[in-house]
């Protein structure tokens, strides 16, 4: 479980937001929406343990990410995945290079196993057989989906995505929703930051969501029965 207590963020001209209380259970699919420049990416970074909040704390599984021992923070970052909004790969890199790089951070995965998972995941995000393609030649949607597949190869316990739905495009919304629900049923937590939530998605909070500072928080129903 990820809990943010009274979290605040400031920037040079003042306070961005303050006193945010958020909680994300294991096996949940959550969407945090907010207007442009409201600090969605910053919130994800704080929740991931990458950027110390200016106020408050984030606790994962009962351990603080920012106070005392830095070990839990490092371990949490290692076990979580992150699909960034803008993905700027090193020039001349191919999709396969990115998978290889991602696999460096995963202990105990053989090259053969990695390649099998590569193929499966690329097929899942609609890009089968694209391993040899250069990243710089991909469209925004393709890059976003490749970035997702690259994160999934490590089987992260928690997956953070920043503007993934918007970058992937409307035609991929339902597929990604289904994928995230399936992952949540395996006990994984998905936290997405988006400008708006897709009107095609049912949420547990209805169309309005829960207001937290400048953000609205939505939870997607995960259980199979709930989808019927």
């Amino acid at each position: 479980m990820i809990e943010a207590f009274r979290v605040g963020a400031a920037f040079s001209k003042g306070t961005l937001w303050d006193g945010l209380d958020l909680a994300f259970d294991d096996g949940e699919v959550c969407v945090v929406t907010g207007p442009p420049a409201s600090g969605k990416t910053l919130l994800l970074r704080i929740l991931r343990g990458e950027r110390r909040p200016d106020a408050g704390d984030v606790v994962v599984g009962g351990e603080s990410l920012y106070r005392g021992d830095p070990g839990p923070g490092k371990a949490f970052r290692a076990s979580s995945g992150f699909v960034p909004e803008s993905f700027s790969p090193t020039a001349c890199r191919t999709v396969r290079d990115l998978f290889r790089l991602s696999a460096v951070a995963v202990p105990g995965v053989s090259a053969r196993e990695r390649m099998e998972r590569e193929e499966e995941l690329l097929a899942l995000v609609g890009m089968p057989g694209s391993q040899g393609g250069g990243l710089s030649c991909l469209s925004v949607s393709e890059r976003a989906r490749v970035a997702l597949a690259v994160e999934l190869v490590r089987s992260p316990r928690v997956l953070f995505t920043d503007m993934l739905l918007m970058n992937a495009g409307r035609e991929w919304t339902d597929m990604l929703g289904g994928l995230f629900r399936a992952l949540a049923r395996e006990g994984k937590t998905i936290i997405m930051a988006e400008r708006t939530i897709s009107e095609r998605w049912n949420t547990m909070e209805g169309g309005q969501g829960i207001t937290r500072g400048p953000f609205r928080l939505f939870r997607l129903p995960v259980a199979t029965e709930a989808l019927r």
């Binding site: 290692a78 290889r100 790089l101 460096v104 951070a105 995963v106 105990g108």
Partner: protein, 295 residues
């Protein structure tokens, strides 16, 4: 679960670039090793001068061949002496005629006018004024020795010149090492900059930057050790092969067989130790410079 080793991270994510870089490094190390081996074997000017210069002990005319050979044997045992050869009066006369042809008439007056002599050559590493004077001091009291020729004032000037030339050679070698180190540093810095996004990707996935940096240093040290060993091996082999084909190599630089003796193997071991360490230092400095540029 056992963490993944990042020692070969650069090879994993940039194999082609690393291959090209390693080839360039091998040639640079080959050049350094060749210069180092040549300097160690030749001692700069020492080997050449010790081959050209001799201390000559002119013996009295009355000295017999056996006495002359005895004196040569004693001279050969003196510290710093590489060889001492006795030349009898007849050999002496032939050498004289080879230098001054047409003076055969000098002999008709009353036999061979030239005495025998002992030709003494110093070891290259003991070709110093002190060692030459010590040899002279050992031979001068002998009643069979008429006079000693070792260059006098010219020798002192030549030895001073030798010190300067050797210093110049070593300074050139030091400069070469500095240039190679600079090239290593620039290679490391460029690579760390080019791969900075990849390293950022790994840092974002919970791998600390310090672990990446020190793993890369370890990888650089291991790569440096392997390349240095290969370069040193190639240089030693080349000397053995070239010595057979070019006799001048043996005369000016030295016999390749000397490379397998302890006084030579020790400094070669130092090279094999220092080179990987410098690779590691270049990797760390390159990483820091690339990171400083990113901030």
């Amino acid at each position: 679960m056992k963490p993944v080793s990042l020692c070969w991270i650069d090879w994993k994510i940039s194999a082609k670039g690393m291959l090209l870089e390693s080839a360039a490094r091998f040639f640079m190390l080959f050049l350094v090793a060749a210069c180092y081996v040549a300097m160690l074997l030749s001692g700069g000017m020492n080997r050449f001068l010790s081959g050209q210069w001799a201390v000559t002990a002119i013996l009295r005319v009355s000295v017999s061949v056996e006495e002359g050979q005895g004196i040569a044997g004693k001279a050969a045992e003196l510290p710093g002496v590489r060889s001492a050869a006795y030349k009898d009066p007849e050999t002496s006369w032939k050498e004289f005629l080879a230098v001054y042809p047409g003076l055969e008439s000098l002999r008709t007056a009353g036999g061979n006018p030239l005495p025998g002599y002992v030709d003494i050559r110093m070891r290259p590493d003991r070709f110093t004024e002190a060692d030459i004077r010590a040899v002279e001091a050992s031979l001068r009291p002998l009643p069979q020795v008429e006079s000693l020729l070792s260059g006098g004032e010219v020798l002192s000037r030549l030895l001073r010149l030798k010190v300067w030339v050797n210093g110049f050679f070593w300074a050139g070698f030091g400069l070469l090492c500095a240039v190679v180190f600079l090239a290593l540093f620039l290679q490391e810095k460029t690579r760390a900059s080019l791969l900075s996004m990849d390293f950022g990707f790994l840092e974002g996935r919970g791998i600390p930057a310090a672990r990446i940096a020190f793993s890369r240093v370890l990888g650089a040290v291991l790569t440096g050790a392997l390349l240095s060993l290969a370069a040193a091996g190639a240089v030693v082999s080349c000397f053995f092969i070239l010595e057979e084909r070019l006799a001048v190599i043996g005369r000016v630089i030295g016999p390749a067989g000397e490379m397998l003796t302890p006084p030579f193997l020790l400094p070669l071991g130092l090279f094999l130790l220092a080179s990987p360490l410098l690779h590691g230092v270049a990797s760390l400095l390159g990483w820091r410079a690339a990171h400083a540029g990113r901030k």
